[in-house]
Subunit: 364 residues, 2 copies
């Protein structure tokens, strides 16, 4: 295999280890693992996760669900679907797979119910609860019981569970990660108990991002975790103390193409490869736009679309020459995946497969 | 055409007007327009530019050149190509098209010459000069004459011109744009004169980004401009005073999917649609992650990958309801294009074509 740079490379053994570790955690605590495939968008990796014991998968968008239907029987679309065209697509998929979809407002539920009724289908629902991210989901203090009752009053919907994503953990300090995870789990279990008191018994209490899964997943009453990034890890996870450098399964190979001055060189990977994510804390947790393995003197300080500008601290070591191939752990692996058409899979540094990123760019 | 959101939409009449305006400027000043196709990556638009009078196109990567070869005869790869595989690909293309490639170091030139010699081909070269961006290119004070002589000493290369890209204009204040453009042109003409004094006569003196093209292009001695973004314009160009809102030909249609509180709503477009670019100055020139047309009370304040979180200033107007379709001028149109598989082309708001973004993601 002739790998031309920039190239996204996945270390198979590290990937397998990461998949195994999360599955082992879920099995030990007797909870379901329903990994979010946004991190890899790749059928081969979804199959590995399911083979290892995952009970289903999570996706954000319908297009991802359609693409992943080849690999998975049980798919949670953790997203509010609005508009008849999307609901019709959901119902097409719901005919052949176990589909669950997110709701956080009665208007979404009634629109869905009306088309489900026409199609004589039952659709499973997860009600979204906000545990601090301030994005979608019912905020603290909102009347979850009322919405749940409203959903239960709709003939063709089945309220299967509640879910949350504590994504604000990415804006937290390393030392606060455990408490955020624990709160995520406890808060969702509290909501489940409120529902139970009102006579509404749900099957699933679903939490988790990669940083919080190990904490939220241990809370009694939680039944499911949905981490995504753990398959690869990245520099943001490193900054949060979630993993070590040797756990980072995804990297970018990039070539030095220009050395205009002794303290600056330019690589052939820019924002079209790395994305611009520096994490919510920027410089506090990550340094520049990726970690150059084995070159402590290099910081990727600026990205144009096709260029990465590296600052060289010549006190720590020399500048690389034109043609040098560097290996970079990106800040945010999910973004890198969404920008890549395919990834090279290596074993002991030898490329053995080229996998298509099948659900790349499926935003609709 | 059933347009599901998020969708990238191009207004055909605005696009045509933008293409015409830049061509008219080039014609008036008797210089060549060689647009950078990074902005659109679309064969249909490249053909429109060439039909309007562009003398060739500019691309950043070989993969873009390969994709655009269907539309263009004369292609500048404004990028340093390093490694035998890439040079071989360049030579394959050079057999059938007029290809020019960037060099800023003798080592790139000798590697290229050696393979060109083997293939019995002549390759045209543009030497890259840095006029303040501090990325690639010979910095001020470097010995351009020496490198040019080195290139001229290589039998299978032809030094056709010099070029620069004053990309640092994007980090400048609105009022400094004209001076940066003028300096870009004057500095490059100065280098061309230095070369002429040493007996090295070049054909092309090539400058220009969208903000600087109108200023650099007026400098006597400049022969070519290479703007890209002007076909669409975007919120960063608006912030730099380069265009008006009615000149923005590209927008994103997105649906409100959740309204968790009165001052917050969530749309179905996130960083996977908009990218994370806020320009070099962030809040000084752009507000949030895109301009919501006709809704002054809305600021897209945060992006996750699949969600845009909008802050509503309820003093200025109400929050939109679930299902409302908003139209957003993105901060950086080039990024939006690189994230989109296709764009919808509208005329008087009616979709008439769906164009494939053929060179999307071609980073190699």
């Amino acid at each position: 295999m002739n790998i031309q740079t920039p190239a996204v490379v996945v270390d198979l053994e590290k990937l397998e280890k990461n998949i195994y570790k999360m599955q082992q955690f879920a099995d030990k605590h007797n909870i379901k693992l329903r990994p979010h495939i946004k991190a890899h968008k790749t059928l081969e990796i979804a199959k590995m996760q399911l083979d290892a014991g995952a009970k289903g998968i999570t996706v954000a968008k319908l297009g991802e669900a359609e693409e992943m239907a080849e690999a998975a029987e049980d798919i949670l679309v953790a997203y509010q679907l609005v508009g008849a065209s999307k609901i019709q697509r959901l119902l097409s998929l719901n005919k052949i797979k176990f589909i669950t979809v997110a709701v956080d407002h009665l208007s979404q539920a009634t629109a869905l119910n009306s088309l489900a009724q026409e199609a004589s289908q039952m659709v499973s629902i997860y009600l979204e609860v906000d545990t601090g991210l301030n994005r979608c989901g019912l905020p603290r203090g909102a009347d979850v019981v009322q919405l749940a009752k409203g959903i239960r009053g709709l003939s063709n919907l089945r309220l299967k569970g509640i879910f949350t994503h504590a994504g604000h953990v990415y804006a937290a300090k390393k030392e606060d990660v455990p408490a955020i995870g624990q709160f995520e789990g406890e808060e969702l279990v509290r909501v489940a108990k409120d529902l139970a008191k009102a006579g509404i018994i749900i099957e699933e209490v679903s939490v988790g991002s990669t940083p919080t899964a190990f904490y939220a997943g241990q809370v009694t009453g939680v039944t499911e975790i949905r981490p995504g990034n753990y398959v690869f890890n990245d520099a943001i996870q490193l900054g949060l103390g979630v993993c070590q450098e040797e756990d980072c399964a995804l990297s970018v190979k990039t070539t030095v193409i220009s050395t205009p001055s002794s303290d600056r060189c330019v690589i052939d990977a820019g924002s079209k490869v790395f994305g611009l994510d520096q994490g919510a804390h920027g410089a506090a947790t990550v340094k520049g736009f990726g970690l150059v393995k084995g070159w402590p003197q290099l910081v990727i300080s600026r990205l144009s679309e096709e260029h990465g500008v590296i600052t060289v601290d010549t006190k720590l070591g020399p500048s690389p020459s034109i043609g040098e191939v560097l290996e970079v752990i990106p800040n945010h692996a999910c973004q890198v995946i969404n920008l890549a058409d395919y990834v090279y899979v290596v074993k002991e540094n030898n490329p053995i497969f080229c996998w298509k990123v099948a659900a790349r760019g499926k935003v609709v």
